[in-house]
C-alpha cells in the first residue's frame, strides 16, 4: 500500500506549515521519533493554539427531560423542576445547578431526531455521524479529529478514552484511518496499560533493544516502506513516548486544591484528568459517565448520576474558560439517544431517539445558543430538527475542519463527514 494517508484538509496543511515550518516531515519524522524535530517554541505555540475536544459520553442514554430540555408540569415532565441559567431565557433541569451557572459558555441542540433506540447503533451514529450500514465501518469522532488536527510536534496519542472500568489498551475505532488514530483507553483513569518498563529489564537493556529495533526499521524502510510498516513503527514510537511521558496521565501531579475542587468521585477525577490531558496537548479526550439507562426509577438514578456529573463538569468548563483554553477546546456532552417522554410503570424512562438534546460549547461554538425545540411535553421535535450527521458536521466546523473535504486513503477519497448533512449554522460562532 502506498504511504498516502495525510489528511487532505486545507486547514490542517496550513496549520502544519505554520507551526512546523521547514521541518522535514514524513518518514524521517516517524522513524526518528515523533518529537525529534520540533523546537520547544513550536511545541509550546502549537500546544496553546491547537484545537482540542473533550467529549463526555453519558452512557446508556441521558434523559433530555432531566437535563437539557425539561418539561415541568406536563404529563411527561416528571418530578423535577427547571431552573434559570446564566443565559436569560434558557432553563435546564434543577439537577444541574452548577452547569446552569456556566451556560453562557455552552449551547444546546434540542431538536435531535436520530430515529434510533438501540444502544450500539446509537453510539455508532453519535460518534461517527453516520448511520451504520452493512459492511461499512467509519472512524469515530476522536479518530477523525486526531487525524484532522494531527501535528508532528505532539508526541502523545491524539485520541484518548477515559473509562470507568475495562481492560484499557488500544481500541478498534479508527477504521480506515489506521491504528495511529485509534483510541487508547485509560481504564479507571489510570495511565495506559503496559507503559511501565518491566522490572527485570534494565534501562540500559531497554535502550539497546530500542536502538537495535530502530536501526532494523530504518534499514527495512529504505526499500520497503508501507502504511503498515509505518503503523508498526508508529506504535512502537508511541509506546516509547507513553513510557517516557507517563506523568501526563498521573493525576497525583495535580494540586490538592484542584483535586478538592473537582471532587473525590471517579467522574470528578476524570474531569480533572481531561483538563490535564488537553493541557498537555492531547487532541481528543472522551470521558464516559455511567450509567443513564434508567428503565427503572429514572428520577432517583438521574438524581444520583447528575448529582455526580454536575459540579465537576461545570468546574471543568469554568477552568478551561479561566485558563484561556475554552476558545481552543470543543466540549460535547452526548449520549447514544435520549429517553422516552412517557414515564413507565417503574418510574422509568425507556430508549428514545426521536426528540432529544446534546450540549456543546467552547471552540467555534456560539455561546449561549439554542437550536431546535420540542413540543410542549417533549414527544416530538417542533423546530430545528437535526440528525447525528448534522452534529458531526458541526463539531468539525467548530474545530476549523472542513467536513466536506476528503481523507485520501490508499488513493481513495473518503469524506470526513457524511456528505448528506450540513453543519448547524446557528450553533457555530
Amino acid at each position: 500500500m502506498k504511504c498516502d494517508y495525510a489528511c487532505g484538509s486545507e486547514e490542517h496543511l496550513i496549520a502544519r506549515r505554520q507551526f512546523i515550518g521547514g521541518v522535514a516531515t514524513g518518514a524521517g519524522a516517524v522513524l526518528g521519533g515523533l518529537g525529534a524535530f520540533a523546537t520547544p517554541e513550536a511545541v509550546a505555540k502549537m500546544t496553546k493554539d491547537q484545537k482540542r475536544v473533550i467529549v463526555v459520553r453519558m452512557a446508556g442514554g441521558l434523559s433530555q427531560l432531566e437535563s437539557w430540555d425539561p418539561k415541568p408540569g406536563t404529563d411527561t415532565g416528571g418530578p423535577f423542576r427547571s431552573i434559570p441559567t446564566s443565559v436569560p431565557g434558557i432553563r435546564i433541569s434543577e439537577l444541574l445547578p452548577h452547569t446552569a451557572k456556566v451556560m453562557h459558555h455552552l449551547a444546546l441542540a434540542r431538536g435531535i431526531n436520530t430515529r434510533n433506540g438501540d444502544h450500539g447503533k446509537g453510539t455508532y451514529m453519535m460518534l461517527t455521524g453516520r448511520h451504520r450500514a452493512p459492511g461499512q465501518t467509519h472512524p469515530e469522532l476522536g479518530a477523525v479529529v486526531a487525524r484532522g488536527l494531527d501535528n508532528e510536534s505532539l508526541t502523545l496519542p491524539g485520541h484518548i478514552k477515559v473509562t470507568s472500568g475495562g481492560s484499557g489498551g488500544r481500541n478498534n475505532d479508527a477504521a480506515y484511518l489506521g491504528p495511529k488514530y485509534a483510541s487508547i483507553s485509560l481504564s479507571g483513569g489510570k495511565p495506559p496499560a503496559y507503559t511501565e518498563r518491566p522490572k527485570d529489564v534494565t534501562e540500559a537493556a531497554a535502550k539497546n533493544q530500542n536502538q537495535f529495533r530502530k536501526q532494523a526499521n530504518d534499514r527495512f524502510a529504505q526499500r520497503r516502506r508501507t502504511a503498515e510498516t509505518d503503523a508498526y513503527v508508529q506504535s512502537f514510537e508511541q509506546a516509547q513516548e507513553l513510557m517516557r511521558q507517563r506523568d501526563v496521565f498521573d493525576l497525583s501531579k495535580e494540586s490538592d486544591k484542584d483535586r478538592e475542587r473537582y471532587g473525590k468521585t471517579q467522574f470528578g477525577e476524570h474531569c480533572l484528568l481531561a483538563r490535564r490531558l488537553v493541557e498537555k496537548g492531547i487532541t481528543y479526550v472522551q470521558v464516559t459517565h455511567s450509567n443513564y439507562d434508567t428503565h427503572n426509577e429514572n428520577f432517583s438514578f438521574h438524581f444520583e448520576q447528575l448529582g455526580e456529573f454536575d459540579a465537576p463538569f461545570a468546574t471543568l468548563v469554568a477552568d478551561l474558560a479561566a485558563r484561556g483554553l475554552l476558545e481552543h477546546t470543543l466540549i460535547v456532552v452526548l449520549s447514544e439517544f435520549g429517553r422516552t417522554p412517557r414515564i413507565n410503570k417503574y418510574y422509568g424512562r425507556d430508549h428514545w431517539g426521536n426528540a432529544w438534546s446534546v450540549c456543546m460549547g467552547g471552540a467555534g461554538v456560539a455561546r449561549g445558543a439554542v437550536h431546535g425545540a420540542t413540543n410542549k411535553n417533549g414527544t416530538a421535535v417542533s423546530d430545528g430538527q437535526v440528525d447525528a450527521g448534522h452534529l458531526f458536521h458541526t463539531y468539525l466546523r467548530a474545530l476549523g475542519l472542513n467536513p466536506r473535504r476528503n481523507f485520501k486513503i490508499g488513493g481513495q477519497k473518503i469524506p470526513l463527514a457524511d456528505p448528506a448533512f450540513e453543519p448547524i449554522k446557528e450553533l457555530l460562532a
Binding site: 446508556g60 415541568p72 408540569g73 404529563d75 416528571g78 418530578p79 423535577f80 423542576r81 470507568s164 472500568g165 471517579q266 455511567s290 450509567n291 439507562d293 434508567t294 428503565h295 427503572n296 426509577e297 432517583s300 438514578f301 438524581f303 444520583e304 448520576q305 414515564i343 413507565n344 410503570k345 417503574y346 422509568g348
Partner: protein
C-alpha cells in the same frame, strides 16, 4: 371481625387521570387520600366515591400524614416543601407552606402525641417540626445517602429513619442525638457496572409489643436500572438488633413500597415491579409468604383502613384498588 388475608379480593376501583404514587386513609376512615404524577392530591369520599383535588405542590407528592385530631393533613413534595391542609374542606387551600429540605422530601411521620412532624429526603437530613405552627425543632444529620422512611416509636421519645444505604438510625428526639443504628444492608446494593446505589429502607413498622422492627425493600437487585429485583422484609429483634427473619416470596419481581403489621399479627407488604403489583402476606415466624394476591397493575403505595379489613393500593394505571381482607360477598345474597 377478624381479617382473613387468604380471602383478599378486589372490592372496588377508583380512578384518577394520572398515574398514582401513594395513598393513606384518614384516621376516621371516611376518606382515602392519594397522590399522583399530575402533582395532585386526591381525596375520595369512600361512602359515595366523590373526589376533591388539592393543588399546591410544585412537584410530585409522596408523603401523607395526619394530625392527631385528624383535622389537618400534611403533605410533602419533591419540591422541598411541606404543606398543611384542612383535611375535610370542600375547597381546600394550604394553611401553611414550609420550605423544609433541599430537594425531594420522600417521607414524613407524625409523633404519637401529634406534637411533632418528622421529614426526610434526598438532602440526607431528618428534620423535626412543630406540627402546630410548622417551626423547626431539630435537625438530625448522619445519613450517608437519601432518607427513604421514617417512623416514630410509640413511646414518642424515639424516631427511626431508614436510608438508601440500608441503615436505620434510632434517634433520641429530645436530645436530637443518634442512639444506635440497625444494619439493614440486605436492602442495599451498589452495582459497580452501572455505578448506582439501589434499594434502601422503603418502609418501617414496629410490632404491637414493640419487640420487633420490620424494614421493607428489595434484594437480589442484579439489574437496578432494568427493574430486576425481588421484595423482602427484614424482621429485627428490637433489643438485640439481630435479624430474626427475612420475609421473602417466590415468583415476584418487585420492591416492598410499604409494609404494615396488621392488628391480627400478620405482616402485609405491597410490592410493585416487573411482575406486577402484589399484596403479600407473611406470618411472624415464617420466612415465606403464606399468601399473595396479584392486583390489576403494578403497585406504588398501600394503606390499611382503620377497620382492619379494607386495603387501598395505588397503581400506575391511574387506579386505586380497594381490596377487602375477608371472604367475597355472595352476589346472590344481595
Amino acid at each position: 371481625m377478624a381479617a382473613d388475608a387468604k380471602q383478599v379480593h378486589l372490592a372496588k376501583s377508583l380512578a384518577h387521570t394520572a398515574p398514582l404514587i401513594n395513598c393513606r386513609f384518614d384516621p376516621s376512615g371516611q376518606y382515602l387520600f392519594a397522590t399522583a404524577e399530575d402533582r395532585a392530591i386526591i381525596r375520595w369520599n369512600l361512602a359515595d366515591g366523590s373526589k376533591v383535588i388539592f393543588k399546591g405542590h410544585d412537584s410530585w407528592v409522596r408523603g401523607l400524614a395526619f394530625s392527631k385530631d385528624g383535622k389537618t393533613l400534611v403533605t410533602s413534595g419533591f419540591d422541598d416543601t411541606l404543606i398543611w391542609w384542612p383535611m375535610a374542606a370542600d375547597k381546600p387551600e394550604p394553611i401553611r407552606k414550609v420550605t423544609a429540605h433541599k430537594g425531594w422530601i420522600r417521607t414524613i411521620a407524625v409523633s404519637p402525641d401529634g406534637a411533632l412532624l418528622a421529614s426526610g429526603g434526598n438532602d440526607r437530613v431528618v428534620k423535626i417540626w412543630n406540627t402546630a405552627d410548622g417551626k423547626s425543632v431539630a435537625e438530625l444529620t448522619g445519613h450517608e445517602l437519601d432518607v427513604y422512611s421514617l417512623m416514630f416509636h410509640p413511646d414518642g421519645k424515639h424516631l427511626l429513619s431508614g436510608d438508601l444505604m440500608g441503615h436505620i438510625r434510632q434517634w433520641d428526639v429530645a436530645g436530637a442525638k443518634e442512639v444506635r443504628k440497625f444494619d439493614a444492608k440486605d436492602l442495599h446494593t451498589y452495582n459497580s457496572g452501572q455505578r448506582v446505589h439501589f434499594g434502601g429502607v422503603r418502609s418501617l413498622a414496629l410490632t404491637a409489643d414493640r419487640k420487633q422492627l420490620l424494614a421493607g425493600g428489595l434484594y437480589k437487585g442484579t439489574n437496578p436500572l432494568g427493574a430486576v429485583h425481588e421484595p423482602i422484609i427484614l424482621r429485627f429483634e428490637w433489643d438485640s438488633q439481630k435479624v430474626l427473619k427475612k420475609h421473602i416470596t417466590t415468583g415476584v419481581k418487585g420492591v416492598i413500597w410499604r409494609n404494615i403489621i396488621h392488628p391480627d399479627g400478620f405482616v402485609m407488604g405491597c410490592s410493585g415491579g416487573s411482575s406486577g403489583g402484589y399484596l403479600i402476606f407473611w406470618k411472624a415466624g415464617e420466612d415465606k409468604a403464606f399468601h399473595k394476591f396479584k392486583m390489576q397493575d403494578t403497585a406504588r403505595g398501600m394503606d390499611l383502613h382503620p377497620d382492619g379489613i379494607q386495603v387501598a393500593a395505588v397503581h400506575w394505571n391511574k387506579k386505586v384498588s380497594l381490596c377487602r381482607l375477608e371472604k367475597k360477598a355472595d352476589p346472590k345474597k344481595k
